[in-house]
């Protein structure tokens, strides 16, 4: 293995279809019109010296190193900023150019420390390379004059260091922060000789607006901005292409290694989801893989009151199998089940559901998508015929109007948010529907055209009001509807939304949003050109989550915004493999590829392949399993890579369900909160330690590649396989590619997928089959998967969770950029520097009424429970609304949330909980007692 290097063409590719032919150094070359001379030269293999240019950024033309001579033109223009032209004759290397370049380099080096041998970038420094390329042999100017060599280093950021002594002020970092990330946290402070890169107003990086995406580090051509790990470890010597294990964007990275030690994760330019960009989590927050709290040996215990006993893998697996056999013999075959993980690979997820269906002999399998995007599956399958988003991420580049609803992309999907912001800066319009003023509403060079700050729980009313405007003001795309949709359904729906009670005026009191704002937003969405809807868990995690998804689909169909680039319905998936977990048959009612378990043909296909007879009835969903446990009918569960005690709603109910079981098996990296109530702990492996695939929010299947041995001894798929064998069901996979072959054999939408094809194509968006051998970037192009698009009437039904005198505020929950989900991974990294604890956001009016100041402890109580956390006073939330995250187990935000759930899928209603906030003195009794119990539960018996 060697280090994977990517060629830097200096300037971005031109997207023009017409071509231009020119001559460079005597060779004819044909390139797209609009390309730079530098790019054209790079295409024919000629590297023109450069420092300020990189193909991730638009040309800047400041370093004066890439000069060329052009026949018939005066002077020596910069090749990065000069576009090609037909018949142009260019020379990239002449005595005149050599002299100029050498002179420029001499000036750069005259204010640069000559410490190459001890420099962290030694061997990976463009300045060093260019000194070599131009043949610099001496620097005549010395160091006697003014220089920057003693400028102070800023090591405030835990992941990278800023050493201004090594800076050549090429502005690549500043431009990367602006153009790629879109944060505008960096600037060039001062003028002339005093110019220097500055985070904000000459602040330290950590305290500035910098979001630590790493784009500046990536762009830096010297050692000015360098990963701390590279400084500590040294330059990597080999790398592999893999996929990030955080959010559903699915960024491609080069895992750069020294031996089995990960040095850094570098975003891969050819990654189709991220296009060379990254965020603080994927780029830097991987230290959890080697964290001291990771549990590497299996453990068992008879009672959750006992300390853990470390055992061998053989003992752990045979004990687990024997417990499941005992429970099924005593309580019946349906008394056990399992949960697949959206953090694990497709292959692992497929295997867990296979284990449950084929070795447990029931369909009691569910996945964490239950509590996030299950309404997406139901809603989009009902309306379009496919349980997935319609577009690829590139589609955003053709979008004219973005409608972002119930999503906070800059925190939860930051790399895609950067692409959205770029398009918005180019002039696309933005509608945000969210109770909170998310960053997209107002940030650097971005202003939402409309922010509809609706009351939590009124999504359907809002979408019906928008639909009302579209229908009654004649904004329906009638041609599209007539050609592509079921007309009878459309007419039924149109008559419904046109009713006076669905007008923005009538619903103003429900949503809390002025009718005129709703009308203006509706007109913009319907008439502004290519309009795309991006949504998140603020749509799905409601009692009407599925209805809201269908209301979104209705809007897209009514305006003809499905089936071409720039439009569509785009669920922003939460975890790295939520899409994949759903695709792989993790739901209790369907097999992989979304075929219902009652479908005899599908069931027989699987049954024949697996050598079993499959149960024709759906199994229990996660909340149903917990209910059944409390009823005494569900006694054993195998949970792979999921912490339901922290992530699922109504913590006390979850705890009661787990406590009622006789065998809870947790397979994870750490002793998570669920493990406090477990009887068997099976150590899990990280994404760095195994092969497999993840599927991202755009249905893109991408390889995960093992770069180090599993520290726990086995990849997760191997553990599931051992358990299946111990239960008497044969599984004999030698490699995850064989599992993918089985998936492809049994799943029509994956029929053309294999590891060989993935290696050849880089990634594949399903469906991939005979008719789409290279996958399907955009769905429903000619016709909907179900044939005609189906409009569904979406009547607003208020949630049963009501505010009242005891609980007058509405709590909504979400994520923050630096932390991920339950925080099991990110809390064990330096990301804690940005978010040490969950905070309660409260509006100044509500805070003042309660005598609460920023930083005060407050008690947060609902009908389900109470907890305490510190307050943050902000007008991001409207009066009457409070907001918090759920990243920290001490807070246990889900002790507050209730059992209310989506009518179709049981997805919990996390986003609406009636609460009261009052001043507090610190953690409440429940938190103190929980922390004590958790600590006691994590005791591990000393081995002799």
């Amino acid at each position: 293995m060697s280090l994977i290097t990517e060629k830097d063409f200096g300037t971005p590719a031109s997207v023009a279809t017409e071509t231009v032919t020119l001559t460079i150094d005597g060779q004819a070359v044909t390139v797209p019109a609009g390309a730079s001379i530098m790019r054209a030269a790079g295409q024919m293999g000629t590297q023109i010296p450069k420092l300020c240019a990189t193909d991730m950024l638009d040309a800047f033309g400041s370093c004066r190193l890439c000069l060329v001579e052009i026949e018939g033109r005066a002077g020596t223009p910069a090749s990065c900023t000069t576009p090609v032209a037909n018949g142009m004759v260019v020379a990239t290397q002449t005595p005149k150019l050599a002299k100029l370049r050498k002179g420029v380099m001499e000036l750069y080096i005259s204010d640069h420390p000559l410490d190459c041998l001890t420099c962290a970038a030694n061997g990976d420094c463009e300045l060093q390379d260019m000194a070599g390329a131009v043949g610099l042999r001496e620097v005549r100017y010395g160091y006697q004059g003014h220089n920057h060599l003693n400028a102070a280093t800023d090591a405030s950021n835990p992941y990278f260091t800023y050493d201004p002594a090594k800076c050549i002020v090429c502005s690549r970092c500043v431009r990367a922060c602006e153009d790629v990330q879109g944060t505008f946290a960096l600037t060039i402070a001062g003028r002339g000789f005093g110019s220097r890169v500055s985070p904000g107003q000459s602040e330290l990086f950590l305290g500035s607006e910098c979001v630590s995406c790493g784009a500046c580090v990536q762009a830096c051509p010297t050692a000015t901005l360098t990963e701390t790990k590279v400084i500590e470890i040294g330059q990597p010597e080999h790398s592999a292409i893999t996929t990030c294990a955080y959010c559903g964007v699915g960024c491609t990275f080069k895992a750069e290694m020294r031996g089995e030690e990960l040095v850094r994760m570098v975003p891969y330019k050819d990654g189709k989801a991220n296009r060379g960009h990254s965020c603080v989590k994927g780029r830097f927050a991987w230290g959890y893989a080697t964290h001291r709290e990771r549990v590497l040996e299996p453990m068992i215990r008879a009672s959750t009151d006992d300390p853990w006993t470390v055992v061998s893998w053989d003992e752990a697996i045979s004990h687990t199998a024997s417990e499941f056999r005992r429970i099924q013999a005593k309580y019946g075959k349906d008394s056990v089940g399992g949960i697949t993980s959206s953090r694990c690979t497709n292959e692992e997820t497929f295997l867990v559901q296979k284990l449950i269906r084929a070795a447990f002999h029931n369909n009691n399998v569910d996945t964490c998508a239950r509590v996030c995007h299950s309404p997406t599956g139901y809603g989009l399958k009902t309306t379009f015929g496919a349980s997935a988003g319609t577009q690829d991420f590139d589609s955003v580049e053709h979008c004219d109007v973005m409608l972002v609803m119930g999503a906070n992309p800059t925190d939860a999907h930051p790399v895609f948010a950067s692409r959205m912001k770029k398009r918005l800066r180019q002039g696309a319009k933005l509608i945000v529907i969210d109770p909170r003023r998310i960053d997209l509403v107002r940030s650097a060079h971005i202003r939402a055209d409309h922010h509809l700050a609706l009351k939590p729980g009124t999504n359907v009313a809002m979408l019906d009001a928008i639909a009302h405007v579209i229908v009654t003001e004649g904004l329906v795309n009638e041609t599209y509807v007539r050609e592509r949709c079921d007309l009878e359904d459309f007419q039924h729906w149109a008559a419904f939304v046109a009713r006076p009670e669905n007008s923005p005026e009538a619903l103003e009191a429900v949503t809390g949003v002025a009718a005129q704002s709703v009308r203006a937003a509706a007109r913009l969405y319907a008439t502004g050109g290519n309009a795309a809807i991006y949504y998140g868990l603020g749509v799905t995690e409601h009692s009407q989550g599925s209805t809201t998804v269908m209301a979104i689909a209705n809007l897209a169909m009514a305006t003809g915004n499905i089936g071409r680039p720039g439009v569509g319905v785009n669920p922003l998936r939460g975890q790295n493999n939520v899409q994949g977990a759903c695709d792989m048959g993790s739901f209790p009612h369907e097999l992989s590829g979304y075929r219902h378990i009652s479908d005899e043909g599908a069931r027989n296909l699987f049954g024949a392949d697996w050598g079993v007879t499959l149960d024709a009835d759906p199994g229990l969903r996660i909340p149903n399993m917990l209910d059944a446990a409390i009823e005494g009918e569900f006694k054993g569960i195998y949970i792979q890579g999921e912490d339901i005690l922290q992530s699922d709603p109504n913590t006390k109910h979850v705890a009661a369900g787990l406590a009622a079981m006789e065998c809870v098996v947790v397979q994870d990296l750490f002793l998570n909160e669920t493990a406090n109530l477990a009887h068997v702990f099976l150590p899990g492996s990280t994404f760095l330690e195994k092969d497999g695939t993840f599927t991202n929010a755009e249905r893109r299947i991408q390889r995960v590649r093992r770069v180090m041995s599993p520290r726990n001894g086995y990849a997760d798929w191997e553990v599931t396989q051992m358990l299946a064998r111990a239960l008497g069901y044969p599984m004999d996979y030698q490699h995850p590619s064989q599992i993918m072959d089985e998936i492809a054999r049994l799943t029509p939408s994956f029929a053309g997928v294999s590891y060989d094809r993935l290696d050849a194509l880089g990634s594949i968006q399903w469906p991939c089959n005979e008719t789409a051998p290279e996958g399907t970037p955009l769905m429903h192009m000619e016709r909907f998967v179900r044939g005609l698009g189906r409009f569904v009437v979406t009547e607003y039904v208020p949630t049963d969770e009501k505010v009242g005198p005891r609980f007058p505020l509405l709590l909504t929950t979400g994520r923050i950029l630096s932390q991920y989900n339950v925080g099991a991974q990110t809390r064990r990294t330096e990301n804690a520097a940005w978010h040490e604890e969950d905070l309660l956001e409260i509006h100044p009016h509500d805070a003042e009424e309660r005598g609460v100041k920023s930083g005060d402890w407050v008690k947060l109580a609902s009908r389900a429970g109470e907890t305490a956390l510190r307050a943050k006073i902000t007008d991001r939330v409207a009066p009457g609304v409070v907001y918090t995250t759920f990243h920290h187990p001490l807070t246990q935000a889900n002790v507050i949330t209730t059992d209310f759930s989506d009518w179709a899928t049981n997805c919990p209603e996390y986003k609406v909980t009636a609460v009261q906030v009052s001043r507090g003195n610190g953690p409440v009794d429940w938190q103190i007692s929980y922390a004590e119990k958790a600590s006691r539960s994590r005791r591990i018996e000393a081995t002799s």
Binding site: N363, P618, L620, R621, N624, D627, E631, D800
Partner: protein, 72 residues
């Protein structure tokens, strides 16, 4: 009656409310029944039917009740 069984009534009523908004009552009952058949484990259907038989499901809406009778 336990809280978890009470939840089944709430769930059935929610489903019925949705399908009621789609069309005629008999279609709503039919579609509610089909949804419950498609997504509920047999144990859940059985429990709710037991509650109906025991007169413990008074809170069940007429459409949900009709749907459950179709699932007997």
């Amino acid at each position: 009656m336990s809280q978890t069984r009470e939840t089944l009534i709430t769930m059935a009523n929610q489903i019925a409310t949705f399908f009621q908004s789609q069309g005629a009552p008999d279609l709503a009952a039919r579609d509610t029944a089909q949804h419950i058949k498609d997504f509920w484990a047999p144990r859940m259907r059985r429990d709710l039917l037991d509650m109906i038989a025991a007169g413990e499901a008074q809170r069940l809406s007429p459409i949900a009740s009709d749907a459950m009778h179709r699932l007997k």
